[in-house]
Symmetry: C2
Subunit: 456 residues, 2 copies
Amino acid sequence: MSKSNYKKIILDEKKIPKKWYNIQADLPTPLHPPLNPATNKPAGPEDLAAIFPMNLIEQEVSRERWIDIPEEVLEKYLIWRPSPLYRADALERYLKTPARIYYKNEGVSPACSHKPNTAVAQAYYNKVAGVKRLTTETGAGQWGSALSYACNLFGLECKVYMVRISYDQKPYRKMLMKVWGADCVASPSNDTNFGRSYLKQHPDTPGSLGIAISEAIEDCVTSKDTKYSLGSVLNHVLMHQTIIGLETQEQLKIAEDKADVVIGCVGGGSNFAGMALPFIKDKIYGDKVNVIGVEPTACPTLTRGPFAYDFGDTAATTPLLPMHTLGHDFVPAPIHAGGLRYHGVAPIISRVLLDKLMEARSVDQVTAYKAGVTFARTEGFVPAPETNHAIAIAIEEAIKAREEGKEKTIVMCWSGNGMLDLTGYEKYFSGKLEEYTMSDEEIQKSLASLKGYPKP
Amino acid sequence: MSKSNYKKIILDEKKIPKKWYNIQADLPTPLHPPLNPATNKPAGPEDLAAIFPMNLIEQEVSRERWIDIPEEVLEKYLIWRPSPLYRADALERYLKTPARIYYKNEGVSPACSHKPNTAVAQAYYNKVAGVKRLTTETGAGQWGSALSYACNLFGLECKVYMVRISYDQKPYRKMLMKVWGADCVASPSNDTNFGRSYLKQHPDTPGSLGIAISEAIEDCVTSKDTKYSLGSVLNHVLMHQTIIGLETQEQLKIAEDKADVVIGCVGGGSNFAGMALPFIKDKIYGDKVNVIGVEPTACPTLTRGPFAYDFGDTAATTPLLPMHTLGHDFVPAPIHAGGLRYHGVAPIISRVLLDKLMEARSVDQVTAYKAGVTFARTEGFVPAPETNHAIAIAIEEAIKAREEGKEKTIVMCWSGNGMLDLTGYEKYFSGKLEEYTMSDEEIQKSLASLKGYPKP
């Protein structure tokens, strides 16, 4: 139970935060601008206008500290928000730790993850801008299902290009998209020029996120009333997620507690940012909270990737973004945490790391699954493979507190539940789960694609 | 929004009901006793003692109106309870109905359904009675996963015999059981005499619930410190579920509303009873609420089955139970709502129907899925196939209210989410879902197995 003796700390619907937090107002060092790769000059709004509506482009570059959440978005948020903040007291007892562990359960959304926080906002702003249809790509399907859900809420059409190997191996998520009325096709598909030509050359390709992005963007720029939507990395996407951390801060007040350690897993950076940025704001203004981002050893962008200008996509079509990256050619090992398999990290997170406002750690997937099983067998809920990375470090911190004999408050973002990702657990139990830690040679090789671009 | 203008009506943890409601105290006509099939005499506690602990047998026959929920069970309930009561305002707007529709979201439990309400209680009482291990059977896997979850919470071993065809076709639920530490085998298995001999004769059998029950009971009676656990039908199981309706009544008070119609889907009867019995209590004492149980046309026990003494299992090993039944040999068509494929209905529900304290309706699965898709596309959450049956009638009642121009409050039990049952939706969209309505000849044929047993 929390200090206030509740298992779940519930924030009243009427007290849901009414604004998102935009850390660009408080960053000690401003972000480097994205660059137009043709000119190497800062990319302007016009470089993005073909694929995003102007209201979202404005959010992308805004330096306003607080951005009002529109009434229409708040109304949809109430379907699952405020999400409960749980005290993980059973896990604490199991670990015999004096630490208090809290987890923010983002698995309660209809799509079972934090992704709808931005999907709903993006669908709304596109709707307002007169857009009738959104395209996107998806790997394992978390983002595709979240955007399908959000488009359905606002009456937009939605087309999802899903990496073929996931489309074939993870049929549940594509069914979920269909339930919400979206059109989901395996990528490469016959629906775009790029897809058709790629298929002709490689009829047996398993597909890749890079190919899927290229198809989604081609579809966007060649279709009427259509824009493109991205589920992570960009500034406005991270900002939409800050509702997670803002709610958590209110809930900790109710629990009469204060975070000493804040933990989230990091892929593109959206769930981590959502939890962490409001706490990093406090840190900028003098608070001592320790904020930890956790990535897989199979994709160690924050812990081993340089800060460089790189493309957001594999096909090298986006503006150059200033970020910690392993190079846009990098194809991460096939770990089950599909949401953490991204070659770069959001510019905001990269900046925050450079300015020592957070700490980065990496965890191999066997350790992550072990932590997930410990969680499921103590707290009950089965975590997503991505979430397991955050849990592993929360457990590590709780054990450290025990060894040091220190009381401590640990808060983690429980980014989603694992109901549609149970196969990784099966492999874990059968001993067939691989560890995947990158060697220095592999890292050096993967960084080759960064050569020849400007340095930030 | 509800009358009190909330999307979700949340009951404070401190106000969770502390007692279960036992309708045996209030039934206008007492239940017929179960009979020992060897003697045709009322079965006593000793007939059940080989497979159930005495504390649960006492609950089975108790006439106390209120039974204290043990502290240890309440503590576990708080992991997901009180569950939210949602106002389905988006569905209402879509239907243009003056009715207010509420749904009680039992999908928020770690196992995604209402089943843990009794699983946790049963695991606790077995633990207290010194039992170290529970056996059970499961069809699609909802009950098996709920009991695995509950046994893990109380440190009991758990062995689940899962019908082979489901074991092969629905791999996610068996993985879930493993995450919670249970041992799940395909039935018939090589772990019991009955299983081995059945396999020898029918090596390619898809298995059946009847075979799985026989294996679970054999394992129970031949193993040390082991008891058997059932997920529906029995009086104590239904009583544990009444926490659903009791919470709902408190939440309706918060919403300043009152139920005119209460709806739940019916298989063995546990989720329906959980929601309905506290409202039926009010009806017994003069309230006008209309309580509707909804079953599939493929398994119309309440609407077309006679009230008779019949076995609870296909292998004819249990005491004879007084219930609406289609005969213990009846094998329902393979509808996706696996939880509604049971040849009989709980004696308590059968009694309540005979005494006209409820109404029974049936819905074919295509209509049910259509309702489920309407729900998912308005309210967001994707319902389980069982739940879709309740939704279909809620929609029917809401449309009736519109046609009659009447305000009305409709409350339904949303028994679980459909995240692990998405294949049925896929079939629905591809037009391959079959309707399955039984003919009179089929009913007559299936009733043959009732001949030769005493009449209630």
